[in-house]
Symmetry: C2
Subunit: 222 residues, 2 copies
Amino acid sequence: MISLDAQEISATANLSARIYADLRMKLIIGDLRPNEAVSIRTLASDYNVSAMPVREALRQLASEEALVGAAKKAYRVPNLSPSQAANLFFVRSVLEGAAAELAVLNIRKGDFKILKKFIVQMENAWAKNDASSFLRANYEFHSFIYARAGNAAMQAIIDGLYVRTGPWLAHGIVNLVKPDHWLGEHTRIIDALQNRDGQKARELMEKDAKWGSDLYQRLSSS
Amino acid sequence: MISLDAQEISATANLSARIYADLRMKLIIGDLRPNEAVSIRTLASDYNVSAMPVREALRQLASEEALVGAAKKAYRVPNLSPSQAANLFFVRSVLEGAAAELAVLNIRKGDFKILKKFIVQMENAWAKNDASSFLRANYEFHSFIYARAGNAAMQAIIDGLYVRTGPWLAHGIVNLVKPDHWLGEHTRIIDALQNRDGQKARELMEKDAKWGSDLYQRLSSS
DNA sequence: TCAATGCAACTGTGATCACAGACGTCTTCA
DNA sequence: TGAAGACGTCTGTGATCACAGTTGCATTGA
């Protein structure tokens, strides 16, 4: 049985919303893998609720293409084609680039310590081959920055992209030898933010968002 | 009773999906107005189905913030605050700008006649004060272009933005004297696409996406 | 031994019911 | 005449059941 009263899940009165949020995070950090089946009744049993809230959560995820569902067949985590993955990373680079440029205007002095903490977490997770923790720290690093853009709509949209690329990234990381440049542009992004250099922050963020695409290149050529 | 077997709605086996698509278009063209209540049982009766498919459609729309729902209260069309509207139009300008730049690479010779047809439709609708038709033609013009970017993920995300700005635009248009520049940058965008000038297409599209923001300026200052 | 067939256990989907909280109106009392 | 309280109606939400189509395994036949 999966408990839903974790602190991180907002205490909405709604069962559906909590299951939805929980599954979303599982997708972001790669706890659900491409092509994995998720069934309404199984999840309902895991969460110890009826099928009702689960089916609504799954339908929502399917509508934002975080899951795929065919008629009378189990929902599945999508198996992204090369072009689909490239498309997602392209949108991410466009939006995260714009967000980083805006974030320069709102970033606060104490934020940099937090951002550096996420980098340390990524480093530790990478050393332990812990893909989930690595992806979570990576997400939190990026998420923290584009939250500082002060545009809630943009923030939600980028979140949706992480949900969709998460399983695919996790698959790539575990099936791959360590890339030498796992840090991406993260440290340089912090520098640009500290220097309030919006143009530079944008460029670096656009480049970093393509890190996932690089991963794919190595995957498909190996 | 509202019929769902219109040609435009894809013949998915799913009732929920068809109701979802129908409501989405109603939002895009402003058939549902800000703050309007939409109730599960009322819609179920209108569509002549049970509450089940409707509640799933409404929940989906709420999850993408095309509707808002409080506990035990009817779902409502959101009444956007000035900053929320500005945020949406900003994201639209970023994404549609990038899409227009890509569209230059894929646009076909016969496309321009279609695009000009949409402009004529906008002109006619404007002359008849038909806000729904105006918004539909405007949506189809833009939609046609960003579909040509060849990025399905980006296309779906921009679609979602039109769903959210639709009711607000309709409200602005009907409560406003005609702006003199209703055409926006549409004709110039066609020129840029024809000249395969990606940079220009991007600039014009970014500017045009802010047309809605202009509308708001006039609204709030009147 | 292998392939074809059938059955059993799964899948999502729609309908229906029970429930609790919100809202508005109408009545009643001061 | 006014305000306060109660009741009926409407809201979304969760649970449960029936149904039909899919899948995969086991059995049976050649």
